[in-house]
Symmetry: C2
Subunit: 170 residues, 2 copies
């Protein structure tokens, strides 16, 4: 390990002068080490552990089997952030805060039907399109909800989810 | 303005001691100023200027009118990052690099049909589902491409796009 680290440091040092105005040391290292050019693309991934494809596929399979809860789905980091979109504009930070949000939602809503389409797989995470038939318990109002969940994966765990709401007329 | 800033500073100072182990000063300020609790949600947005809804709606409208190019769509920052997903795992950083990537793609592919569905609108950006009928020029192969584009908006400009690829069998 020490040898590897030392080799990396030497490489970084040797290539440093070839890079013009690096935004950060990490960016400079990636750009020079992998492409040799500041114009070329740089590799990006979600780290070690389960991939966005693996986690996304499992989430979609479980959701379509009626498993909607974080505990049933798994893969979520305790430090996860959950962000709600258009018209809400809030982030819940940490698993406890997210559990509170979700419990509150289930108190007020009943799911009559739900399906997940995906996963759509990126380099830093994945996204899933959800269709839900939801009842507002207090009023009895039924809503057809369409949204895309965008999930960021880091080292085999979902660290962030952002729900983006459909705005199209049905 | 000076009075307002001073009031904010005083509020921050007064509530500071009530927050346990804030992750950052900004997070602590937001949490205490807006919710009074470190467990409650914190506001998040895309800054000033055009909103994710406005930009997303315009992008979808233009795309469905056959305007696929960055220059035709507008709204992109010169410092934009473009990330390609599953199986590619690369980011192009800066408008020049992204233009090179896109020109290369058009050299190799022909679009026979394309449609955009959305926008789906979050707090930090928006997403769009794309369906494309694409021909690989060299081989004549036709592909049905399904992907979700996830766009991050900051101060009225798209600063990042990540293309996430459909993995479902059609």
């Amino acid at each position: 390990m020490a040898k590897k680290a030392s080799k990396k440091a030497a490489k970084k040092s040797a290539t440093k002068s070839a890079v013009k105005k690096p935004a950060t040391k990490v960016a400079a290292k990636k750009a020079t080490a992998k492409t040799g050019s500041s114009m070329g693309p740089v590799p990006v991934d979600s780290g070690r552990g389960a991939t966005p494809f693996e986690i996304g596929k499992d989430l979609v399979t479980k959701f379509n089997a009626g498993k909607f809860e974080i505990d049933e789905i798994g893969h979520f980091s305790d430090a996860m952030v959950s962000c709600e979109g258009l018209g809400v504009g809030l982030e819940w930070r940490g698993r406890k805060a997210v559990d509170t949000k979700n419990a509150d939602w289930y108190t007020k809503h009943k799911i009559h039907g739900a399906s997940a389409e995906g996963p759509y797989v990126g380099s830093t995470g994945f996204s899933v399109k959800f269709n839900m038939d939801v009842e507002v318990k207090e009023t009895g109002q039924r809503m057809a909800m369409m949204e895309i969940g965008v999930y960021t994966v880091k080292d085999g765990k979902i660290v962030r989810e952002e729900f983006m709401y459909g705005t199209m007329k049905g």
